[in-house]
C-alpha cells in the first residue's frame, strides 16, 4: 500500500515536471518568462554550487526555526494560562479575535521602523503569524478536556500544576501538535515573504534580486527550493507529531488499520 502511494506520488511529480518542460517548448507560454523544467534545473544546479545560496538558505531557516520556536512556546504558555484562569480568558477573547485576523504582512512598515532589514523584523512577522495558530489550537484543546476527569483530579486533591500536567496537557497535546504543524508552514511562508518584501537576507531576498535582475530561470529555481523546503518541513512536522502522539488513540488507530 505504502509502495503504491510512493509510486503514484513519484509518477504525479514526473508528469508535472514533464508538463513544465513541454508547455514552454511547445510555445504555449513564452520561454523567456516561463523557462522549461530543464533550464530551471540548470539554474538550480548553479544555485547549489554558489556559497551565497547556502548562506541565504541558512538565514531563512534561522528565521523560520527561531520564529516558530518563540511562537510555539509563547502560544502554549499563553494558551494554558488563559485556560486555567477563566476570567483572563474572558477578558482577552475579544482582543484575540481582533488581533488574529490582522495579516502579518501589514506589520511590515512597523517591523522596518523598529528593526530595519534585520532578522528581527523577519521574526516579528513570523512570530505574529504563527503565534495565533498555536494559541487557538491550545484553547480548543483545553476546551476538550473531559469535565469528569477534571473533577476527578480535583476531588483527588491534585493541585493546579498537577492538573495541567496530567489532565489538561494530554488532552491538549494533539491540538498543540496540529497548531505547531500549521504554524511551521505559516512561519516558512512569512519568513520568505518578509525577506522578499523587506529585503532581509535569505532566500526571499535572493528571489527578489533575481526578479529585478531579469534572471528568470534563477528566480524559478529559488521558488522550487522554497517549495521543497515547505514539503520537507511538512513531512518533518508530521513525523514529529506521530512520534509525540504515539500513545494517542488517533495515531494508534491510524497504525492499526
Amino acid at each position: 500500500m505504502k509502495g503504491l502511494n510512493t509510486a503514484l506520488g513519484a509518477a504525479g511529480l514526473a508528469a508535472f515536471l514533464a508538463l513544465g518542460e513541454a508547455v514552454p517548448r511547445l510555445g504555449l507560454v513564452k520561454e523567456a518568462y516561463f523557462p522549461p523544467t530543464s533550464r530551471i534545473a540548470g539554474a538550480l544546479g548553479d544555485e547549489l554550487a554558489d556559497e551565497a545560496f547556502w548562506t541565504a538558505l541558512g538565514d531563512t531557516l534561522t528565521g523560520w526555526a527561531l520564529g516558530l520556536t518563540i511562537a510555539a512556546c509563547a502560544g502554549v504558555v499563553v494558551g494554558v494560562l488563559l485556560a486555567v484562569v477563566p476570567h483572563l480568558r474572558e477578558a482577552t477573547a475579544s482582543t484575540i479575535e481582533f488581533l488574529r485576523p490582522i495579516p502579518s504582512v501589514a506589520l511590515i512598515p512597523l517591523a522596518v521602523l523598529l528593526y530595519g532589514t534585520e532578522l528581527r523584523s523577519v521574526l516579528l512577522l513570523v512570530v505574529y503569524a504563527s503565534f495565533w495558530q498555536v494559541l487557538i489550537q491550545v484553547l480548543y484543546g483545553v476546551r476538550d478536556v473531559d469535565p469528569v476527569a477534571e473533577e476527578t483530579a480535583r476531588s483527588y486533591g491534585l493541585g493546579p500544576w498537577a492538573r495541567v500536567r496530567h489532565v489538561l496537557w494530554p488532552t491538549a497535546l494533539p491540538y498543540v501538535m496540529t497548531g505547531v504543524r500549521l504554524a511551521a508552514a505559516v512561519a516558512l511562508i512569512l519568513a520568505i515573504t518578509a525577506e522578499l518584501v523587506i529585503g532581509a537576507p535569505g532566500l526571499g531576498s535572493r528571489i527578489a534580486v533575481a526578479q529585478t535582475s531579469q534572471a528568470v530561470p534563477d528566480m524559478y529555481a529559488l521558488i522550487v527550493v522554497t517549495g521543497l523546503l515547505g514539503l520537507l518541513i511538512n513531512v518533518g512536522a508530521r513525523s514529529v507529531e506521530r512520534r509525540a502522539l504515539a500513545w494517542h488513540q488517533s495515531v494508534r488507530g491510524e497504525v492499526a488499520v
Binding site: K30, A32, Y33, V105, A106, I108, P109, L110, V112, L113, L114, Y115, G116, T117, E118, L196, V197, I198, G199, S205, A208, V209, A210, Q211, T212, S213, Q214, A215, D218
Partner: protein, 323 residues
Amino acid sequence: MRRLLAGLAAGSFLLTTAACGSSGDSGSSDKDASSGGTTTVKLGLIPIVDVAPVYLGVKQGFYAERGLELTITTAQGGAAIVPGVTSGQFQFGFSNMTSLMVAQSNGVPVRAIANGIASTGLQGKDFGAITVKKDSPIKSARELEGKKVAINTLKNINESAVRESVRKAGGDPDKVTFVELAFDQMPAALDGGQIDAAMVVEPALATVKSQGGVEIASPLVDVAPHLTVAMYFTSTRYQQQHPDVVKKFQEATAESLAYADAHPDEVRQVVTTYTKIPAAVLAKVTLPKWPADADRASIEALEKLGEQDGLFKQTPDLDQLLP
C-alpha cells in the same frame, strides 16, 4: 503587489513621523560606534545598477581612507529605506528625488546629501524609456492618449516624467491610463498585450529591447536635460549630530561617482557581485550618468511637475532638502 507596497510605503511615512516625534535621541547613537578612528555606518540600498558606484568606492577604499566603514544593507525599494533612515536603522539611504520631495513635504525629516544618478541626457539613449511592443501602431508619446501605460509606482517620479513626455509631444496626459506594475514584470506584460506601453528602466529595458520592443520617448530626459533622478540621503537629525561623518560620506561618494563614470567596465563587473543580471543582458544595459553633483535646475523642473500633478501636500523646500 506594487499597490500593496505603495500603500505600505504611505503607511510607513505616517508611522515614521510619529516615531520621530516621540523617540527623541534613542536611535541616534546605535550603529556608529567609533573604534580606532573608524566609524561604521549603515547604508540602505536597492540592489540595482544605479548604486554600483558605492560598491566600487568601497572596493577602491574611498570610504575606508576617510575612516568610514560602510555596511551595505539591501532593501526592496524605498518602502523600507526611507523609514529605515528616519528611524535610525540606517544612517544613509538611496532614494529617487520625487520620493525625497514627497517625504519632505509630508514633514519626514530627510536631507539629500550626495548625488545618486542622473539621466544620460540623450534622447533614445537613456537608461529609462517608454517602450512599446514590436509592431505596435504607437509611434510617439502623443499617441498614448487613451492607452494603458505601465509605471512602477503611481504618483511618483516616473508618472511625472511620462506625463511630461506626453505633454511635450502635444498630448493630454490626463487621457493616459496609468497602471502600476513592477519593472521586472513589464517586459512580459508588454509582450502579452496586457499593457500598450511601459516606462521601463534597466535591466528590464534591455530585456524589452531584446524582444524587439521599441523606444518611443525618453521621459527622464524630457523632464530636464540632465535630470538628477536619485540621491543619497540621511535624516536631518543624523546630519545635525554627525556633520563630520556626513561630510566624509559626501566626499567619498563624490569620488566614487567620478570613478564609476570613468570606468564603465568596472561598473558592469561590480554589478554582478550584488545582482543576478545575466551577462548577456548586462552587456546591453545602458548605464546612467554619475555626476559628482546634483543638478538643482533639473530638480526644480521635477518639483514643478510634481506640483502640477498634485504630488505634494506643500511645496518642498529645496534649500532644506539639498546639500
